[in-house]
Symmetry: C2
Subunit: 245 residues, 2 copies
């Protein structure tokens, strides 16, 4: 396995714990970041000293995939783990694949792979089977998906997670600047997700925008002092109304 | 209790089930909508025929609060349940209060009031105690909050729930138009909420905007065909970058 970012840290733990997975070696440019794992697995920061393995999992940043894979020069199966990157970008000279778990990862935040969707792509049918089996071994749900579908899914995840979290952040900032503790907002954050999951987000939409409650919208715009927040409010309100037309 | 919208339905069930709450009567303009509850509680659609009670809970739409309360003409405690409406708008001629549960309600979606924040306001100290006790009786967490703070909290909830859900909706629409089932998106929706709750949304921000990944941002804008979605993407990306400056 290569890379020690958020995903790399999760993979190291999972691969190490999985009964039928043998994590042969962990590569990272900065050896200090992975020294803690030396008791469980071989570590290295030298690409030319990679051990032989059935599968090379590249959990490196999108921009490093081409370069790092070109230096690997292996005739084995090499996969990257990026949502928005084409499989073809791999330059290992050998068999290519993708192993993309659709989730948001943070090193410090423990996370189960149970029933987590993993998008799989490979040129070779046998390699697909290998990647499907690896996903199942982690408790995850493998889905076959080509690079173009995966790119769309990554975009979709940006709307859901990156943008969704940003709105949670702004909601919290607005509350905080009025001395309202984050604690109060936790139940509505959780319920927003749970309701969307149970009934679908289309049926879960409520609020002033969808019921054309111009009184409340005006009140809210008056309350918002920052241009940044006003702009977001207006753009999102217009978008909800447009969906509803 | 007055009103049979999303909140009214939840309240009827809760009040009926709570050991130390006696739901005397349920009023709704449209009697058909509440007939199902007649086995448990008296119902009426005539405001002048309201029974005597210690507390009148108005779970009616924001725009009806003033009008309905003015027709009640009661010398008892009357509360509304709206986030963005000042307590003073009540025109019952008697004691006023607010009982605002911070949550998103849908009739068909069961929901526990356990640990749910309820914002309480009242002119009279004794009425505050009554409302605090009612909240606790439902298993909820009462917070005292004046109308101006509550207005801010309501705005904050719009960002979190209404706007957050809208982004889940767009993420789903993008996936759907590429034949990707909603099922795949459920784990990331739930984890978005859970991570924000565990670490705070500020520390949970990931994605191309916050790491200034212009390559991915360009790819995503090329993928988005609808102007509506492009505009949202640009506005939200700019806002994430601005927060990060």
């Amino acid at each position: 396995m290569l890379g020690a970012g958020n995903l790399g840290h999760h993979f190291q733990k999972l691969f190490h714990e999985a009964e039928n997975v043998d994590l042969v070696q962990w590569y990272n440019r900065d050896l200090n970041a992975i020294e803690f794992a030396e008791k469980d697995t071989k570590i290295t920061n030298i690409l030319t000293q990679l051990e032989d393995a059935d599968l090379y999992v590249m959990a490196v940043s999108d921009n490093s995939i081409a370069k790092v894979s070109s230096q690997m020069n292996r005739q084995r199966l090499v996969v990257h783990c990026a949502g928005g990157v084409d499989m073809k970008i791999l330059e290992s000279g050998g068999r290519k694949g993708v192993f993309y778990p659709l989730q948001t990862f943070t090193k410090s935040h423990e996370l189960s792979f149970k029933d987590l969707p993993i998008c799989i792509e490979a040129e070779d049918e046998k390699d697909k089977v290998t990647l499907f089996n690896l996903a199942k071994e982690l408790g995850a749900l493998p889905y076959e998906m080509n690079s173009s579908q995966r790119g769309v899914l990554h975009l979709s995840a940006v709307f859901i997670n990156n943008f969704g979290n940003h709105l949670f952040n702004i909601g919290n900032k607005i509350a905080k600047s009025n001395n309202i503790p984050f604690e109060i907002l936790k139940p509505i954050i959780l319920e927003t997700a749970k309701k969307a999951i149970a009934h679908g987000p289309e049926k879960s939409q409520t609020g002033p925008a969808i019921r054309n409650d111009e009184n409340t919208i005006k009140k809210h715009l008056d309350l918002l002092e920052k241009t940044q927040y006003k702009e977001l409010y207006l753009t999102l309100t217009a978008s909800i109304k447009q969906n509803n037309e």
